[in-house]
Symmetry: C2
Subunit: 160 residues, 2 copies
């Protein structure tokens, strides 16, 4: 994919993320039953030096499950920041790295969270996104509700 001509120069390493990706995922966690879901993520250029991000998942019946939103920042020197709001009552400040090599872009983050008074308590998360050509594999682990950092979600999405 060619880089849009007017994209902010700092976003060049993540230009190939622009657009919408859809596919299937599976979830597990020690405190709940395993589950599956369909997922859609969209990265949008808003004419500024960051990308807007929104994610939505649906259960097997098509009912809306999770959604999250925020911004992907690429400050430079191989660093990446993913600033997220969770409707479950958490803010998630993800800091990490971006590696772009050919048609592969890998984003990897560890996050600090704030939990609202009425939310389940999530202590920390680990996110990884491996974009290769027209596919992305996402993985998400979290330390939450008294559990240590544990794998929670994995999905494989394709560019729409």
């Amino acid at each position: 994919m060619d880089t849009p001509a007017d994209l902010a120069p700092n976003l060049a390493p993540v230009a190939s993320l622009l657009g919408t990706w859809r596919g299937e995922g599976a979830g597990s966690y020690p405190t709940i039953d395993d589950f599956s879901y369909s997922e859609e993520i969209t990265f949008t250029d808003v004419g500024k030096p960051f990308l807007h991000y929104v994610q939505k998942t649906r259960g097997p019946s098509g009912a809306p499950m999770h959604t999250e939103t925020g911004y992907l920042r690429i400050p430079g020197d191989g660093t990446a920041e993913f600033v997220l709001a969770q409707p479950t009552g958490q803010t998630e400040l993800c800091e990490g790295t971006v590696h772009a090599d050919g048609d592969t872009v890998v984003l990897e983050f560890h996050a600090s969270l704030l939990n609202s008074a009425t939310a389940k308590q999530v202590s920390s998360t680990h996110r990884r996104y491996e974009f290769t050509g027209d596919a992305v594999t996402t993985t998400f682990a979290m330390a939450a509700v008294g559990q240590l950092m544990t794998h929670h979600l994995r999905s494989v999405l394709r560019r729409t």
Copy 2:
């Protein structure tokens, strides 16, 4: 405005917020020059017990200035939570109250923030939204970059 029939019951106090609001604002802060902007905020029902929120501002020339996004949660007992992501590198967890009385809805929040390593440091914020009929007045104060809590933004928007 009537409450949509399928809106989650906990959102009844904020049903009148649904839709898009547009208008003008003015900003000031001890460390910068005064400025003016046009603003648009949208609250959307996504079929879940929270509202999706997105805000965009533009400068006098029409150039995009700020944007922010997140979720409005109404846990009950007059409490409200506004979970926000900032593209400037902050997460902003706002906790406070909702008061609905006739055609007036007042939301008031104090926030805890996390700042990314490359962001300007914002320590805390105070937000107030007063919706009355087809208008909303928003005010925003913050303690940031070494300043104590100080008024920053005020806007008056109308339902579109």
